[in-house]
């Protein structure tokens, strides 16, 4: 591509087309530009356009296109072609700084970004003159240019704040310091002087203060990794000027907008950060400046309009300082404390117009901030943090000062509640901040300030609001009161909580979303509280008087505007079911109707995952509680649910399918007799490959298939034998995956355990071959553990001889290899009680019911196998994982149960396939050995005594004694 007018013209045309709203014109133009961007001179053409084009739109468009081009192509990736030719690279670097600085702001920003992208790759080695070029511009006296340089420098240097120390990084910083630190310092001084010369010129000041902000940010970046020699030597200059700037006030720089930060605030907030950095990292060197900064920042908090970022950083600074014992004296003065409480904390605790707006119109956001602690950048939170920081050293005085404020605010409220309700809100917030020293979601406040009487405040100021007949009056105060109960639930005595339960139930009807949500959440939290003996604090009997109204109001709340999929309410429903148990049975017909209607409605467009999850939990609970009392009722649930389920499956509502399968498993397991035909009709569909392609379905589907095998193995063998290969195909797919192989084993184990042997006879050898292939190709600890459990289950089910024969039929002497290379060395890794028991019983069979173990070349493995079995009984589990497996996700460490996407209340009981056969596996071993020894007298004792180690022998004798048998 030549740098010709014709090419400039063409490029202009295409750039213009990329702005076209019509995709039919826009897309081809974009495609074209992409196709030519590999040509030499392409970037230079763009630079020419952005400098010289007559059309401003084209200029901007060229600059954006250029930046994106740099972003995509500048980095040279190893083993990939260099996408920009060297000559273009050199030309770009030679011109871009000048171009950036002489361009209008819109284009300057794009080019500045491009410079930092290039700088990230090339600076400093491949762009050695960049720094000098930038520093030289400081002399220009043109602050438009200077700010351009500073902005670029900031984007180049800010990574010093978050990268790890390395030789490369520090070499760069050293280079930057050598070239940049002194000119920056001089610029800083000169700029401050100019500020006083232009103290009355608002537009000049704005530019100068933008420079000062950037300079202060650069200071932070350059001082982040360590305190550079230069800045230690020049600390006086920097800190004195920073201090002066902190105390500066200039009306010209203030903004009218309450929420938008003015330049002066931004500068002060950055200076607070700089001071905090020095105070925390370079205390020894900074010590003599610190008290002045504390005072200045104190005063800043007391006097300015308290812009949020200033507030935040100033508080951060004070918090980091006030915890150091040698600065404690700076805070001790009662007057200082009083003025901080009065002028900083109290004003920031006020409920502002913006809070009120959020409470009414954006309640979800309000709840998230207020309830879930996402309030990190709010004024209230900042003030609250300061209270907690001060309380660490000055709890008594601070509590004393605030008690006065709380009382006076409550008096104000009492004078005229409808006008002054915000005073009470602030009072409650203040008490909460003051009293809560430590808090968790699960327990609310866990450590409280003992100087605050929480119960008294509850009785006198919280309860009366909640008792008022009108649930819609003063909604903010209602929400405050409910929140108070919620967070201080562990401090307020139970009898008071019990009193508030009907009040909370009543507030489920409040129109305000915040209020009824808080009421639901508070009930849910109260119902999960634990009393002594780890039972729930509130018993079903204590709640019994309110059951009907509770359930009614909860479901009614779901019909209130804005709460149709309110997760807090649904969680409260679930929790109420769980607490009340049989007490809900009379209401089940209505409840299940309402739940299925809800399910049907939300399945059209599932959008609230938490809500949906709790809804399915509630459905499971209804089934469990009802069918425990009356198993026959399962049919009623099937009637109510299957219609919706079919619709969900037919419409392929992906989010809900795993849940549906789990509920169906629960229903199927509840059946006592043979599998109903309605389920059998579904069976073939469950084997469809498309269902298994979604990972989220797998655990639920396996669980459901297991339920089918458990209840309907005979039906499958007789009526659906043609589906057995499909079933095994699923198994094959699952064990091929490292993440899902344990699921494959769950399925296989169910097949082995429940299917009539003859129905799977023809496939058995192939199953083993598949397992061996996987062992050879990608053996993992998880796979081996599952494999061991499987072969032992097989041994129990089909006999030891069958196991030996099937191994040896695959390849001669294979059985010995499996014993020697897998069972004996790895058995110690098996985890889980049921799994260990299966292995113990299986190995016992191998030892005592397998003739080849007694009289072939396998005999030499007999004692080692016994030894490893005793090890399984007595030694701690071997949970080491080989190095190369650390990167396999641990999240699918297998249990015998499926643990994926699980509904807590759909869970099944642990299943022990050898439970009835063997109670104590050690005794079982002793008895089996005894039996074996009677069959061939003398041999067993000699095998045991010749090569079993002493410790193992002692354990074995213990088992024999316990079983009252001896070896003959």
């Amino acid at each position: 591509m030549e740098l010709s007018d014709a090419n400039l013209q063409t490029l202009t045309e295409y750039l213009k087309k990329t702005l076209d709203p019509d995709p039919a014109i826009r897309r081809p133009a974009e495609k074209f530009l992409e196709s030519v961007e590999g040509n030499q001179n392409y970037p230079l053409l763009l630079l020419t356009l952005l400098e010289k084009s007559q059309d401003n739109v084209i200029k901007v468009c060229a600059s954006v296109t250029f930046k994106n081009y740099i972003k995509r192509n500048w980095r040279i990736v190893e083993d990939e072609p260099n996408k920009i030719c060297e000559a273009d690279r050199v030309a770009i670097k030679a011109n871009i700084v000048h171009l950036m600085l002489s361009s209008p702001e819109q284009i300057q920003k794009q080019l500045s970004d491009a410079i930092s992208i290039i700088g990230r790759e090339d600076f400093p080695q491949k762009w050695p003159d960049l720094l000098t070029e930038m520093v030289n511009r400081f002399q220009s006296g043109d602050f438009h240019v200077i700010n351009g340089v500073l902005r670029t420098a900031h984007s180049l240097f800010k990574r010093y704040r978050h990268e790890f120390k390395s030789n490369e990084l520090w070499t760069e910083i050293k280079l930057v310091l050598d070239a940049f630190a002194l000119p920056l310092t001089n610029l800083f001084k000169a700029t401050i002087e100019l500020c006083s010369t232009h103290a009355n010129d608002a537009s000049a000041l704005r530019i100068l203060f933008s420079s000062l902000i950037l300079i202060s940010k650069l200071f932070y970046s350059l001082n982040f990794q360590d305190l550079p020699e230069f800045f230690e030597d020049n600390m006086e200059t920097w800190m004195n000027n920073f201090h002066t700037l902190l105390t500066l006030d200039n009306k010209l720089l203030q903004t009218d907008d309450e929420e938008e930060a003015g330049l002066l605030e931004l500068l002060k907030s950055q200076i607070c950060d700089n001071a905090a950095l020095y105070a925390q990292k370079y205390d020894e060197e900074f010590q003599r400046y610190l008290p002045r900064f504390v005072t200045a920042i104190w005063n800043l908090l007391v006097t300015t309009g308290q812009e949020i970022s200033v507030l935040h950083n100033a508080i951060q600074f004070l918090a980091s300082v006030c915890e150091r014992p040698h600065y404690k004296n700076l805070f001790e003065d009662q007057n200082t404390l009083t003025s901080i409480c009065e002028k900083v904390i109290v004003p920031n605790m006020e409920f502002r117009a913006a809070d009120e707006e959020a409470f009414e119109d954006n309640s979800e956001e309000y709840i998230r901030r207020d309830l879930e602690g996402s309030d990190i950048d709010t004024r209230r939170r900042a003030a609250c943090d300061l209270v907690r920081g001060l309380c660490k050293f000055f709890e008594g005085p601070v509590t004393g000062i605030f008690s006065g404020y709380v009382n006076s605010m409550l008096q104000e409220y009492a004078k005229n509640p409808s006008v002054n309700w915000k005073h009470k809100d602030a009072a409650i917030y203040l008490v909460t901040s003051l009293a809560s020293k430590a808090q968790t979601q699960k327990h609310g406040i866990t450590q409280a300030n003992e100087l605050v009487n929480l119960t008294e405040f509850f009785v006198n100021h919280i309860l009366p609001d909640l008792k008022s007949a009108n649930v819609n009056e003063f909604p903010v105060l209602k929400a405050d009161g409910i929140k108070y109960i919620m967070i201080f639930r562990n401090q307020v005595p139970k009898e008071h909580l019990l009193v508030s339960i009907p009040l909370l139930i009543n507030h489920l009807q409040a129109e305000s979303i915040v209020v009824h949500t808080y009421a639901a959440h508070a009930l849910e939290r109260l119902f999960t509280m634990r009393g002594p003996n780890n039972t729930t604090l509130f018993t079903a009997a204590e709640i019994a008087p309110f059951v009907e109204i509770l359930l009614t109001n909860l479901f009614k709340a779901l019909t209130l505007p804005g709460s149709s999929e309110n997760e807090y309410i649904m969680k409260a429903i679930m929790r109420s079911f769980s607490l009340l148990q049989e007490a809900i049975i009379p209401y089940i017909p209505t409840l299940i109707t309402q739940l299925t209607q809800k399910l049907l409605a939300v399945s059209k467009n599932p959008s609230k995952p938490h809500f949906n999850h709790y809804m399915f939990e509630a459905i499971c609970l209804s089934i469990r509680i009802t069918c425990k009392a009356n198993p026959a009722a399962v049919v009623n649930f099937e009637e109510a649910l299957f219609l919706v389920f079919t619709e969900i499956l037919q419409n392929d509502v992906q989010e809900f399918i795993p849940y549906v399968f789990q509920v169906m498993s629960l229903l199927l397991e509840t059946h006592k007799n043979d599998i109903p035909s309605s389920y059998m009709a579904l069976f073939p569909h469950l084997l469809q490959p498309v269902l298994w392609e979604r990972t989220g379905n797998i655990p639920a589907l396996v669980r459901l298939l297991q339920a089918f095998l458990e209840r309907g193995s005979n039906t499958i063998a007789s009526a659906a034998a043609d589906k057995i290969p499909g079933l095994l195909g699923v198994f094959q797919k699952l064990i091929a995956s490292k993440a899902n192989d344990h699921q494959g084993f769950y399925l296989l184990n169910s097949i082995i355990e429940h299917m009539p042997p003859e129905s799977v006879d023809q496939y058995r050898k192939q199953i083993f071959i598949l397992l061996f292939q996987r062992l050879q190709n990608s053996k993992t600890t998880k796979f081996i553990k599952s494999f061991l459990v499987f072969i032992n289950l097989y041994c129990i089910k089909y006999g030891a001889l069958a196991l030996q024969e099937i191994f040896d039929s695959i390849q001669p002497k294979m059985f010995g290899m499996v014993l020697e290379k897998i069972i004996i060395p790895e058995i110690q890794k098996v985890s889980g009680n049921v799994e260990k028991k299966i292995c113990a019983v299986g190995i016992t069979k191998l030892l005592t019911e397998c003739p080849p173990m007694m009289d072939t070349e396998y005999t030499k493995l007999w004692t080692p196998l016994l030894q490893s079995l005793i090890g399984l009984f007595e030694l701690p589990e071997d949970d080491t994982i080989p190095d190369e497996e650390h990167f396999i996700d641990i999240e699918d460490t297998p249990g015998y149960q499926t643990a994926f996407s699980q509904l807590a209340f759909a869970g099944k009981k642990e299943h022990d396939p050898v439970g009835q056969m063997v109670n104590n596996p050690k005794i079982h071993l002793a008895q089996s050995l005894h039996k074996l020894s009677t069959a061939c007298p003398g041999r067993v004792p000699s095998m045991v005594s010749t090569s079993l180690n002493a410790e193992a022998l002692q354990y074995l004798q213990g088992y024999l004694q316990a079983a009252s048998v001896t070896l003959l």
Partner: protein
Amino acid sequence: MPSLDAPEERLRKFKYRGKDASLRRQQRMAVSLKLRKAKKDEQTLKRRNITSFCPDTPSEKTAKGVTVSLTLGEIIQGVNSSDPALCFQATQTARKMLSQENNPPLKLVVDAGLIPRMVEFLKSSLYPCLQFEAAWALTNIAAGTSEQTRAVVEGGAIQPLIALLSSPNLAVCEQAVWALGNIAGDGPEFRDKIISSNAIPHLLALISHTLPITFLRNITWTLSNLCRNKNPYPCDAAVKQILPALLHLLQHHDTEVLSDACWALSYLTDSCSKRIGQVVDTGVLPRLVALLNSSELNVLTPSLRTVGNIVTGTDEQTQRAIDTGILNVLPQLLQHNKPSIQKEAAWALSNVAAGPCHHIQQLLAYDVLPPLVAVLKHGDFKVQKEAIWTVANFVMGATLDQLIQLVHSGILEPLVNLLTAPDVKIVLIILDVISFILEAAEKLSEKENVCLLIEELGGIDRIEALQLHENRQISLSALNIIEKHFIEEEESLMLLSQVVDQDCEFINCDCLATK
């Protein structure tokens, strides 16, 4: 100014244990660059002699009370004269210029080509005063930049200076010792040149109990410079020669002698475990540990440094240091009023904690945790940093029981607080430590309690905020902790169901049947 070895960034050596830990330690070693100003509490590499008067010097004998003032041209003329008196006068004037407190004209004198003549004067044994002035002038030149030191060496000064060690004139002899010290301090090249010129036996021969204390100090300092610097370290033969003398000097009562002898040992032990072994085998440990109780900062600093270096050695060497009682002293030193001492003590402890779990047990037995928690809460940042390393090493090597004790010591509160520290490495280590503790707690079925504790301390908010950190390792680490340990159970079950599809090829369901 010569560039000094700032303690901040000096090379660190760490004992090997486990892949992760060693990786981390190497990274700590990697940066030997400094941004910081050199620290005053380190030993100087080179010193000028700027004594304003020296009553006992041979110069007394001549030109008493007469101040001679010559121009540079006159000095050049003077030193090149054949008249010893003129030579003396010129050399003395040059020496005085080189001894002025501020901006001595080192470059001027070197560029004037005076060095070769001064080296000549060193050999004029008939005129000890001239020898003395020349040695002094060369001492001060050698105290300059590396090039200036090089000019002295290339002028051929080393051999004649060593010859002067046998001079009957004590002042001349002492000045020669000093000059050699400056040359050795320049770096390994000239240090080894002095060593290979066989200076050590002559230096050691000078040591006697009748020697004036200033002289003995000079010898000790010069010896320390002969032990100093790496790449390469001084050779085994030299170390074998010097060690017994150092041991002897370590018994002296003068704090400056003690200080420099300790510095010498600290340089020797800042090396491989073989060299550490050489030092430990001399039986020096009891004396070193006794010196850790010194109230003199200039003795305490280098002896603590030496002990800290020794515990970077093998487990066996560390065991010997423990047996000698370092753990009686280190916890106290964590509470010393100087942050630099606290930092050294914490560093030493971090290396004990990097040992096997029976060393960690010793830390517990000597009650190291309470002062460690205290510095983590209220200490200077550089102390906190070392203390964090101590905790990290402790956690990696501890048994479950030891971890329980660590958590019970209240370690989590300061750890959580430091998650907002302006130091990315420290933040990452703390996240690692927290994650390690949570996993251990899981094994003990104590996870819920530890999680609640962290939440109470405000840890969840902080870890959540770190998920947005610009440093990718930190954000990932924070994300992992939250996902693995802090998502409510009911939620986590649900989130798991939404994991992305694994790349698992689908096998035709019927393939089994067709085979």
